[in-house]
C-alpha cells in the first residue's frame, strides 16, 4: 500500500503539481474570458455537437442512409423518421448524420492544407525578403485578384465534379490569404529584438523561423483558420448544391439540398434539415472563431 502511495506520489509529483500551478492562472484566465461570452460558449457547443456526430453519427443512425424504400417515400417527420424521408424513401435523419463526415472533411482538409501552404510560403517570403518575397507575393496577388467563389467554381468545373476536386479547388482559392496574413505578421515579428538576440546566439535560419517567428504569429492563424472552417463547409456545400461537388447518392448536405430543390414546396422537410445542419455547423465554427479571437487577443488578456 505504501509503495502504491509512493508511486502515486511520484506520478503526481512535485514537478507535475508545479507545472499545474504555473499553468493555472493562464488557464483560469482563458476560462473566465470564455465564460463572459455566451456566444463563444454557444459556438463551442455547436462545434462539439458537430464533432460528436462526425465520430458517432454512423453508429447511432437508425437506418442505412443509402437504402431505397419506395414504399415509404415523402414521409413527414415522425418518431420513426425524425426528419422524415426523401423522394427515394431514405431516412433523412440518418443521411444528415452521415453527411456530417463529408462536411467535416470538406471543412478541415482544405483549410488545413491551405494553412500549411500559406504558412510555408508566407514565412519564406516574410523572412527571406528580397526577390523571393516579390515573386511569392506577386503570385499570391494573382490568385487574390479573382473572386474566390468564382475561381473555385471554375477550377472545380475544370477538374470535373466530385467532392475531392471541390476540395482541391478550395485549397487553391484559400492559401493566398494565409500567405499574406503570415507574411505580414512575420515581417513585424522579424524586426523584434528577440529575433536579433537569437541571431546573435548563432541560431540557424530554420530554427529562427520555427522556434522564434512562427510560434509568435500562431494566434491570428488559428483564429482565421477556425473562422475559415465554417466558410469552407459552406463553400463545399455550395459547390455540391450547384452540382460541382459531392455527387448523389452521397449524403452530403449541399447535394441533399440540391436533390430536394424540386420538392421543396410540397415536402418542406427534404431541404430544411440538411440546410439546418449546414447552418449549425457554419455558425458554430464562426462563433467559436470569434470567441478564440477574443481569448487569444493579448490586449484583452493582460487587463
Amino acid at each position: 500500500m505504501s509503495q502504491f502511495k509512493e508511486k502515486l506520489g511520484s506520478y503526481f509529483g512535485t514537478r507535475r503539481l508545479e507545472r499545474l500551478a504555473t499553468l493555472n492562472p493562464e488557464t483560469k484566465l482563458t476560462l473566465s474570458l470564455l465564460r463572459k461570452s455566451p456566444l463563444a460558449i454557444a459556438g463551442i457547443s455547436m462545434v462539439l455537437l458537430f464533432v460528436l456526430i462526425v465520430i458517432f453519427g454512423p453508429y447511432v443512425t437508425p437506418y442505412d442512409p443509402y437504402k431505397l424504400d419506395l414504399s415509404s417515400r415523402f414521409l413527414p417527420p415522425s418518431p420513426a423518421h425524425l426528419f422524415g424521408t426523401d423522394g427515394e424513401g431514405r431516412d433523412i435523419f440518418s443521411r444528415v448524420l452521415y453527411g456530417a463526415r463529408y462536411s467535416f472533411a470538406a471543412g478541415m482538409v482544405p483549410v488545413f492544407s491551405a494553412v500549411v501552404m500559406g504558412v510555408i510560403l508566407g514565412a519564406l517570403a516574410g523572412f527571406k525578403g528580397g526577390k523571393i518575397e516579390d515573386l511569392l507575393m506577386r503570385i499570391t496577388d494573382m490568385f487574390l485578384a479573382f473572386p474566390s467563389t468564382i475561381l473555385a467554381m471554375a477550377i472545380a468545373a475544370g477538374l470535373g465534379p466530385s467532392l475531392t476536386n471541390a476540395m482541391i479547388a478550395m485549397v487553391v482559392v484559400w492559401w493566398p490569404s494565409y500567405a499574406r496574413l503570415v507574411r505580414g505578421n512575420v515581417l513585424s515579428v522579424k524586426e523584434t529584438e528577440y529575433i536579433e538576440a537569437a541571431r546573435a546566439t548563432g541560431e540557424t535560419d530554420l530554427n529562427l523561423i520555427f522556434r522564434y517567428v512562427l510560434p509568435n504569429v500562431l494566434s491570428p492563424i488559428i483564429v482565421m483558420a477556425t473562422l475559415d472552417i465554417g466558410g469552407a463547409i459552406l463553400t463545399a456545400a455550395g459547390l455540391s448544391f450547384i452540382g460541382l461537388g459531392a455527387q448523389p447518392p452521397i449524403p452530403e448536405w449541399g447535394a441533399m439540398v440540391n436533390a430536394a430543390r424540386i420538392y421543396a414546396l410540397e415536402y418542406w422537410w427534404l431541404p430544411t434539415f440538411p440546410g439546418l445542419a449546414i447552418l449549425v455547423a457554419v455558425l458554430g465554427f464562426n462563433l467559436f472563431g470569434d470567441g478564440l479571437r477574443d481569448v487569444l487577443d493579448p490586449r484583452l488578456r493582460r487587463v
Binding site: 528580397g130 546573435a200 548563432g202
Partner: protein, 300 residues
C-alpha cells in the same frame, strides 16, 4: 550613407573596452558589424574585423553562425523585448547549450537552471519554468547575461546592457558582468552613452562621433587628460557633486546629418578650436604617446 566610417580599435584578451558616443554615433552599428548582423539593406562595404587573427568579414556565413553565441556573444539593450515571449525562460537558456555544446534537451535544461542560479536569480527552478513576462526587467537581463556567457565566449559585446534598468539594478548588473567576466576570462566591448558606467567597468575607452572613433585611451588617462574637444565637451556635460555649482556646459550645435557629412573633420562645425585645415582635411586617429590615440589636427 556611411553610418560608420573610420573605426579602428584593438582589444586584448580579458580586456574591457568602453565604446561611448551619442545616440546615432554608430556604436551599435559597429557592434553589429563585428557580429556580421547588419540588417539589410545595410551592408559592410570595406575594412576588416580581426578576431584571433582571422578576418571575420571573409568567413562563410555558416562558420560565422557557429562563432556567434559561442565565441562572440552579445547582450542587448532592452531585456523586456530580448527574450522570446512564447517560450519558457529555461528552454531559451537551454537553447544555447543545445546549439553550441550539443547537449540533449534534458541535460541542457538542468544546466540552464544552474546557470540561472549563478547569475543570481532566486528560486531558479521555478523561474526557469516561467515565461519572460513573468520576470522583472532585472531578472530578464540576468537571464540574457546567463545566455551570453553560457558557452564561455572569448568576446562579449554588451550593447547598453543597463540603459533600460533602474539605477539600483544597473549597479547590480554591472557588478555581475564584472564578476562573471573575471571568472570566465572574457574580453568585453561595452557600448554605452553613460561615461559613469564605463569609468567604473572599462580598462580603456573609445569615444565615437558621427561614425568615427575620435579618441581612444586608458580610462584614467581619458578622464584626466582628454585631448579631443568633443571628449572635453562630453566630460564637461557631467554634473559633479564636488565642484562648485554652476550651469552645466553644453556642446553647441547638433550631431551632423550623415547623409551630408561636414567636410574635413566631422566635428568642426561645433568645435571652438577649429582652424582652416579642419574644414578641408580629415584628421587621422594617431598615437600621441602612452597608447593615447586622438583624431584632431590640434594635437599634431
Amino acid at each position: 550613407m556611411r553610418a560608420v566610417d573610420g573605426v579602428f580599435f584593438n582589444m586584448k584578451k580579458g580586456e574591457s573596452l568602453g565604446l561611448v558616443g551619442e545616440t546615432g554615433s554608430g556604436k551599435s552599428v559597429t557592434a553589429l558589424s563585428i557580429m556580421r548582423l547588419i540588417p539589410p539593406p545595410g551592408k559592410i562595404v570595406g575594412g576588416e574585423v580581426l578576431f584571433q587573427g582571422e578576418n571575420l568579414l571573409e568567413k562563410p556565413e555558416e562558420e560565422m553562425r557557429k562563432i556567434r553565441g559561442k565565441r562572440i556573444s552579445m547582450i542587448f539593450q532592452d531585456p523586456m523585448t530580448s527574450l522570446n515571449p512564447v517560450f519558457r525562460v529555461g528552454e531559451q537558456v537551454a537553447e544555447v547549450f543545445i546549439q553550441h555544446q550539443e547537449l540533449d534537451k534534458k541535460e541542457a535544461e538542468e544546466k540552464s537552471v544552474d546557470l540561472l542560479r549563478s547569475v543570481g536569480i532566486p528560486d531558479p527552478e521555478r523561474r526557469a519554468k516561467q515565461f519572460p513576462h513573468q520576470l522583472s526587467g532585472g531578472m530578464r537581463q540576468r537571464a540574457m547575461i546567463a545566455m551570453a556567457l553560457a558557452s564561455r565566449p572569448d568576446l562579449l559585446i554588451a550593447d547598453e546592457p543597463t540603459t533600460a534598468l533602474d539605477v539600483t539594478i544597473q549597479a547590480q548588473i554591472l557588478e555581475l558582468i564584472k564578476d562573471l567576466r573575471r571568472e570566465v576570462g572574457t574580453s568585453m566591448l561595452l557600448i554605452t552613452h553613460n561615461l559613469g558606467v564605463v569609468a567604473e567597468t572599462c580598462d580603456r575607452i573609445a569615444i565615437m562621433y558621427a561614425g568615427s572613433i575620435i579618441e581612444l585611451a586608458r580610462s584614467a588617462t581619458l578622464f584626466k587628460n582628454p585631448l579631443h574637444p568633443y571628449t572635453r565637451g562630453l566630460l564637461d556635460c557631467i554634473p559633479r557633486i564636488d565642484a562648485p555649482k554652476k550651469q552645466l556646459a553644453v556642446i553647441p550645435g547638433l550631431v551632423p546629418d550623415l547623409t551630408q557629412p561636414p567636410s574635413g573633420c566631422k566635428f568642426h562645425p561645433r568645435c571652438e578650436f577649429r582652424s582652416a585645415k579642419c574644414m578641408t582635411e580629415k584628421p587621422e586617429l594617431l598615437n600621441v604617446g602612452n597608447d593615447h590615440w586622438v583624431a584632431c589636427k590640434r594635437n599634431v
